[in-house]
Symmetry: C2
Subunit: 631 residues, 2 copies
């Protein structure tokens, strides 16, 4: 028998077999309910309001009165007919809530990198006989020397003024000093002025086309960084550059960006209406966030010294450049701003994350964790900031894991393991599974640990299930059988996770956690002192906080202290594109932030060794997990 | 009989015929003695000290005692044997004194547009791990954001630092904000940094190659502006540009400049020593002064609107540009600074003249007169400045005058007419005469007036000399006979000045004088209120003040109030190249100076009509000349 259950307030309906728990049904609908205890009915966090036929018995955590109203624990309640479930805010895991929260916190007073100003100039007379450019400067209320024109703009200025009755729009680079008049247009064109926020990731490049008149997004495009063919990670790209490949790497990223620009312009009609497509010449500024190596390659600067101790970049705060100087196909004189970084391994992407989080504005302590092949951590508040980075390995981005893959269509992103070791999962895009992305691996390892499939060292146990088997070198656990996988993948190949895979995942989570600990201990602080933890990274579209705590990636703190930033490099770059104040902050952050080199400190290696357990050698650091294990 | 006479303190010796006056002998030696009375022995200004055989009788103006010591009037004393003459300072006309005087007054604290700084950087360590560029910024004592690197400089910075033991020279554009690191060199190259001061005249372009380490001149080259083939004056160039010739005009001036740069580099060995020639890449900044039209053509900006009422330029204070952007063959990122102008007909060349004169620094009133096809006048002091321009015509530059020519080899530059109407002259370079330049025309007209060859209206009188004859249309006066002229000129053609020529000269001098008068009267002032008069212009290497007063070009003021600036555009451009303070002043002057349009004011035409006499309709304005006429 199958029944329909509708989840409110999102109004998502799923059909499920009779006897399915509400927790599992919600999972099927794409709703992640809190369940720290792993669905054992003990934590009481998955409380929902039901209407319809459900089987359940009242647990202690629900009062008689609430029971009568229809409150149930989702993990303990099974579906017995069609019904409706209302999910209270606190019961759902905050996977996407951040996108709203941090934008709400970062309301921007629009002061974009390039502004369009409509000007009506008094006509010159014999008595009022200053030059055309001086007339523009005066009507803008500036002193001479506060605005200069490019030769391109000066060439067309006289005829634009005289052909359009002295009504013109000035396109001004607002970040250079003096400001630069980069273009002039006839009449009022102040509502046709666009900018780009760009996140140059080692793997993926994401572009937002933004209306500079009101700050709204017009289109967003993304693609693989075409440099990938020359190496998957930062170090292999540097090696390739050293071997004479710098120009090819530069061309690859410039090509990637230019094709994203073309696509974004094409897609802009969807937002602006037919025939109102954004022209490339109307894109008059660009804000770029990326790690230090990506920025070097983008600017065709040799990244060599980033690789060798003492790990020195050529420049952390690049100059404002012109689009034409770096081959970007937008307005040729558009200023290109790179969010400044602090060090070779704490780049502008991290500064952008700090800006997106707003942590620099609060007096309470915050911790920003960016999980990637290189893990970066920033600790601080409105008064000070300390940062470090660690080599975490590519496990959460799909590397060094047998069935690992990047967070894209077909990636298993959510996993639950049942008592009988059966595996339930969902994939990005809802297709057949092709592999497992970072968030899937976090879920998988946490579930395996909670079900006793791995021990605290992360070793797979020989259990009475055909899902545990001996692979080529070691034991492995089958997540999905060959017949479940996508026909266009390696059909017949099971999706598995092995002892070796798990060791890599544990090394990654251990490095990130250890970096946080060392940074805190350097300042004689502990996790309990941290009021907010911001998470950024490329594991996937979301991260399940409780499971990340279970494996010891994140510290054992109340859920409400965690905030997910999504693509924080893009978000910070977007804020820098739109706000003078945010750009000033970005410079202040990159200037004042202390950087601690971990790769040579004994304390880090000690911490790292202790963290190669689930959740940690010192399990007292994870009281919640300890409670779950004991229950 | 011929005798040798030596003139002190210059130690110049000439051989002359017995009976020659000391005045004429001095003239032959290139020394101009004061003789307001025209050699009649009445003014007493040509008093010199003699030793040797001279024939003379004591005039009233010399005391018995001085007579015994050897003092004589040069105009009244004839050579009777070998002898020596000492010329007191006050007896010699101040034709070149200015070159020393204005440089003495403009001692510059060196702060050039581009500076070379030798830096020794501490090597990076794991604890001191900022980027290479940030390290340069720090060692220079700047804040982040106060210095940016060009991509070219950033590309080579890491290897320069590491290959030269962290000792480098930073070449910094000091005028942009942020400052720009335009190049880096290994080790200490701070003494190999050069700049260019450039005067772009409508006719002639002059370039000074300057050592930016100490401000001294390394080489000076000049040539015709190659635009001349497209029109001799500003208006004809604008017309040519309007007819599609803008690019050709631009190429012509860029070619002119680039060949001057090449020559200056070649000639630099003469100053710096063999093998130490200045390389083009070592020229890291350029300061340009020119009239507004010349600057437009230099920047390839359309000058069209300069020509039509209300005479508006595209820009008076051009932006700082890069050499590569305008095709100048020096360091590609060298900043190119144009001295800012005030209006279409009071350009950066005039601002440069104001800066060279130092008149903006003095509380007493000064008047700057730049005589050219376009005459510009600036009146003011340290508190205020007023300027105007007038269309003076090209007479003093050799135009619209039968035998007129520019101030170049073979031009008659000094003229004296004897009682018997015989003409004595000297030419530039001492060659046979080919024509008459501006200073020669001033001398000529003054002499003709004083000898009664022309009347007060400038009409040639029918006199009993074969030098006065009827030409094609009107009377003319023969300055040099065909057989005296250079063989490579029109041999056989006499060098003459006609009634029509004189009318043109009078219009030119009248326009300049009238512009000064109107400017003064606008402020209810007269010439007597003016403490210093600075003269600039292209009449030749010098100007004979007293003769310029006689024809009514200059006002009738004591000689000590006149100062000759020579090439004031070049001198001011040179100061702007070397001094931040002078650049600030140049902007302040061009910003604050009032510009009065004369071409439409009745007062100017009234003044102009009255000035079409010798020296003026209202001869009371010229009491000295009145005295000479009456004597």
């Amino acid at each position: 028998m199958r029944y329909a259950v509708t989840f409110h307030p999102r109004s998502l309906t799923v059909e499920v077999e009779k006897g399915t728990t509400i927790l599992d049904a919600a999972f099927g609908a794409g709703i992640l309910l809190n369940s720290v205890c792993g669905g054992k009915g003990t934590c009481g966090k998955c409380r929902v309001l039901t209407r319809g036929l459900f089987d359940s018995s009242r647990p202690q955590s629900i009062s008689d009165r609430d029971w009568e109203r229809g409150y149930r624990l989702a993990c303990e309640t099974r579906i017995a007919g069609n019904g409706e479930v209302t999910v209270p805010e606190e019961a759902e895991i905050a996977s996407h809530q951040i996108l709203t929260s941090y934008f709400a916190e970062n309301v921007v007073n629009l002061a974009p990198i390039s502004a369009a100003r409509y000007l009506q100039l008094p006509q010159p007379t014999l008595k009022d006989n200053i030059g055309d450019m001086e007339r523009v400067v005066r009507v803008m209320g500036l002193d001479s020397g506060e605005l200069k024109g490019t030769l391109r703009a000066l060439k067309i200025l006289p005829s634009i003024l005289r052909d359009s009755d002295w009504k013109m729009t000035a396109i001004v680079d607002e970040v250079s000093r003096p400001r630069v008049l980069i273009d002039v247009r006839s009449g009022d064109a102040s509502l046709r002025n666009y900018g780009i926020a760009l996140d140059i990731g080692t793997t993926t490049v994401v572009l937002s086309l933004i209306d500079l008149a009101d700050g709204r997004d017009i289109a967003q495009t993304s693609d693989y960084n075409k440099q990938i063919v020359y190496g998957e990670d930062v170090l292999s790209r540097i090696t390739y550059a050293e071997e004479g490949g710098l120009e090819r790497l530069n061309s690859a990223i410039v090509d990637t960006i230019n094709s994203l620009v073309t696509r974004a312009c094409d897609e802009s009609e969807g937002c602006l209406g037919k025939g109102k497509k954004v022209l490339k010449n109307e894109i008059t500024s660009m804000s770029v966030a990326g790690n230090t190596t990506m920025i070097h390659l983008f600017l065709r600067l040799d990244p060599k010294n980033i690789r060798y101790e003492p790990y020195i970049s050529t420049v952390n705060a690049p100059p404002i450049l012109r689009a034409r100087d770096i081959g970007i196909d937008i307005h040729p004189d558009a200023p290109v701003y790179c969010v400044p970084g602090r060090a070779s391994y704490v780049g502008g992407d991290i500064t952008a994350g700090v800006i997106a989080s707003g942590m620099y504005e609060r007096s309470e302590l915050s911790l920003l964790i960016d999980v990637g092949t290189n893990g970066e951590v920033v600790l601080g508040n409105s008064d000070w900031m300390v940062s470090c980075s660690c080599s975490a390995g590519p496990a959460f981005e799909g590397g060094e894991v047998t069935s690992g893959m990047r967070a894209m269509t077909g990636a298993i992103e959510r996993v639950r393991i049942l008592d009988n070791y059966d595996v339930k999962f969902s994939t990005i895009g809802g297709t057949r599974p092709r592999g497992i992305c970072g968030s899937g691996l976090i879920d998988l390892l946490a579930e395996m640990f909670m079900r006793g499939i791995v021990d605290r060292k992360g070793r797979i146990q020989e259990l009475p299930t055909h899902r545990v088997r001996r692979g080529d070198h070691c034991l492995e656990f089958v997540v999905a059988w060959g017949e479940e996988t996508s026909p266009d993948a390696n059909v017949g190949n099971d999706i598995v996770v092995s002892d070796d895979d798990i060791a890599n995942i544990i090394r990654t989570k251990g490095a990130v956690y250890s970096a946080c600990r060392v940074l805190l201990r350097n300042l004689k602080l502990g996790f309990q002192d941290v009021h907010r933890i911001y998470i950024a990274g490329g594991f996937g579209n979301y991260i399940d906080t409780e499971r990340a705590i279970i494996i010891g990636l994140l510290p054992d703190l109340p859920f409400e202290r965690f905030f997910f930033l999504g693509n924080s490099a893009l978000a910070g770059g977007r804020l820098a594109l739109l706000s003078d104040e945010k750009r000033t902050k970005a410079r202040a952050v990159s200037d004042s932030m202390t950087y601690i080199e971990l790769s040579t400190t004994q304390a880090f290696f000690d911490e790292f060794s202790s963290s190669l357990f689930l959740p940690h050698t010192d399990i007292e650091q994870f009281p919640t997990v300890l409670g779950l294990i004991r229950s």
